[in-house]
C-alpha cells in the first residue's frame, strides 16, 4: 500500500531503458553517422543524412506519404464518425453485436486483412467478376499494385483505429445536450456541427493520431498492395535497411518520422488541451 517502494518497478524500468530508450537514442546517434564505401559505419558526426533527405528525389516520397496519410485520416474520419455514432446510439443488444463486428477485423491478423483487400481488388476477385459477369466490362480492371489499392488498404485497416476512440467518447456522451440544442432552435446540420462535433473533439483527435502517424510509417500495405512502382516513406526506410544497407540514412529518415509524431502530439495538445490522453487500447 503506502509503503510500496519502487522496487517492483525496477525490472520494468530496466527493460524499457535497455530495449526501448537506448535503441531509439542509438537511432538518433546513427542518423548523424555516415555509411562508408564498403558498407561499414564511419564514425563522424554530421547532419549529412538530413540534408540528403530533403533532396528532390526523396521530397516526392515525403509529399506522397503525407498526402496519403492526410487523405486516409480524412476518409476515416468521414466514415468513422457516423459509424461510431450508429454504434453508440444503438440499443444495448445491437451495440454488442455491432462492436463485435467492428472488433473482428480489428483483431484479425494485419497481414490477413491486407491480403483480403488484395483478394477483393484482384483480377479474379469478386468486384471484377461481378463487373464482367454483368457485362459492364469486357476485360478485368487492374486495381491492385497501385496507389489506389494502397489507399483502400490504408482506409480499411485503420478505420477501426479511428472509430474506437470516437465511440468511447460518444458512449459517455450526454445526449440531452443535443435535445437542448434542438429545443433552442438548431436544426439537423447545425446540431451536428455546432454541438456534436465540437464535443467529440477529443475522440476525433485521438483517432486522427492513431491513424495519421502509423499510416505515415506503414510498410506492409504499400509493399503488398502498391507494387514495384509505389514507394512511400515506410518502404524507403525499410529499403535502407534491407537493400541499400545504408543504416545511417534510414535512421535519419526514421528520426524525421519521430519528429512528425512529436509534432502531431503538440498539435493534439493545442487542439484539445492537457486533458487529452490517448484512449486506452
Amino acid at each position: 500500500m503506502r509503503h510500496k517502494s519502487g522496487a517492483l518497478a525496477v525490472p520494468l524500468a530496466l527493460w524499457l531503458v535497455t530495449f526501448l530508450i537506448l535503441p531509439v537514442l542509438f537511432v538518433a546517434v546513427y542518423s548523424l553517422l555516415k555509411r562508408g564505401a564498403y558498407g561499414e559505419i564511419v564514425w563522424t558526426l554530421s547532419l549529412h543524412n538530413y540534408t540528403r533527405a530533403f533532396d528532390a528525389l526523396y521530397l516526392g516520397i515525403f509529399t506522397k506519404s503525407l498526402l496519403l496519410a492526410a487523405l486516409t485520416t480524412a476518409v476515416c474520419m468521414f466514415m468513422g464518425f457516423p459509424l461510431a455514432y450508429t454504434i453508440a446510439t444503438a440499443s444495448k443488444s445491437w451495440r454488442s453485436l455491432l462492436l463485435a463486428m467492428l472488433m473482428v477485423p480489428f483483431l484479425t491478423n494485419f497481414v490477413v486483412r491486407v491480403y483480403a483487400i488484395r483478394a477483393i481488388l484482384g483480377v479474379e476477385g469478386p468486384i471484377n467478376s461481378a463487373l464482367i459477369f454483368s457485362g459492364l466490362l469486357t476485360a478485368p480492371l487492374v486495381m491492385t499494385d497501385s496507389l489506389f489499392a494502397v489507399a483502400v488498404g490504408m482506409v480499411t485497416n485503420y478505420l477501426p483505429f479511428m472509430t474506437l476512440p470516437i465511440y468511447v467518447v460518444l458512449e459517455g456522451f450526454d445526449f440531452s445536450l443535443l435535445e437542448a440544442a434542438q429545443d433552442l432552435g438548431a436544426r439537423g446540420w447545425s446540431v451536428l456541427f455546432k454541438v456534436l462535433l465540437p464535443m467529440s473533439r477529443q475522440g476525433l483527435v485521438s483517432g486522427a493520431i492513431l491513424v495519421f502517424i502509423p499510416v505515415l510509417g506503414e510498410y506492409m500495405i504499400p509493399d503488398l498492395l502498391g507494387g514495384a512502382r509505389t514507394m512511400l516513406l515506410g518502404n524507403l526506410i525499410t529499403e535502407q535497411f534491407l537493400k541499400a544497407r545504408d543504416w545511417p540514412f534510414g535512421a535519419a529518415l526514421a528520426m524525421i518520422l519521430v519528429l512528425a509524431m512529436l509534432g502531431s502530439f503538440a498539435l493534439q495538445r493545442a487542439l484539445v488541451g492537457k486533458g487529452a490522453m490517448l484512449v486506452q487500447a
Binding site: 524499457l16 535503441p23 463486428m101 491480403y115 510509417g217 526514421a254
Partner: protein
Amino acid sequence: MVRGQCLSKHKEKPRPAPHLVAKIITAAAFSLLLMPLLAVVIYSFIAPVPSASGLVWQPSLIWYERLFQDQLIATTLLMSLQVAAITSAIATLLGVAGAIALERGKFPGRHLLSSLTMVPLVMPELVMGLASVIWFACLGLGLGMHTIIIGHVTFALSYVVITVRARLADFDISLEEAAADLGATPAKVFGTVTLPLIAPAIAAGGMMAFTLSFDDFLISFFTAGAGSDTLPMRLYSMIRFGLNREIYALSSLLILATITGMAISYRLRGLRH
C-alpha cells in the same frame, strides 16, 4: 452497495437515432471492413477443377489439405506460438509488477516511468523495429527467436501495464485496509485480497500480450534472424512471392481463430459477472 443503487444504473434513456446518411455510411463502412474477410473465407473453399469446358470453380477443401501438409507453415506456426507464450509470460510478469508500483507506489521518477511505459503505444512500429535492429547489431547480439521475443515484449508491456493499472485504479482500497485491520500483514493482504481481485485484469493483459505477439508482423520482420520466421512473416512471404491459394485457407483459419478467441473472452467476462 445498496441494491437500489444498482438497478438505476441499468436503465438508460434511449438515444437519438442516426440520420439516414449516417446509416448509409455505416453500412458502407461495415461492408468495407467485413467483405474482404468474407471473400477470403469463401475463396478458401473453392478451387478450379479441369473439366470438359475448361476450368470450373467448385467447392473444395484442397487448399486446406495442402495447408496442413505444408511443413513451413507448421514450423512457423510453432515458432509464433512459442514466441507468443514466452512474450506473454515475460510481459505479464514485468507489467504486473510495474503496474502495481506505478499505481500504488511513491518513488522518485514515477511520473517519468509512467510516461515511458506509454511510448511503445505511440511510437511507429517501424521505428521500434529498426531501432531494435541497430541496437542488437551494436550489442553484437545475433538475430533469432530471442530477439523477436525482446521486440515483442517491449511493446506488449504497455498494454499489460495499462490493463492492470486500470483495474488497480478502480480498486476499492478500503478492502485492503479492512484486511490489514483484521490482522493480515501487507504480504497477506496482497495474496488474499488484492491478487484475487485483479487476477482477471492480469489474465486479460496476458492474453492481449499473447495476441499482439502472435499477430505481429513488422517487429518480427526486423528482429527475426534467418530461419526463425513467424507465421505472419510466412504469410507475408507467401503473398509477396507467389500466388499460392493456400493463403486463403491459412487466412480463413486465422480469422476463425480470432472469432473463437473473442467468443471465449466474452464468455469468460460474462462468467465473472
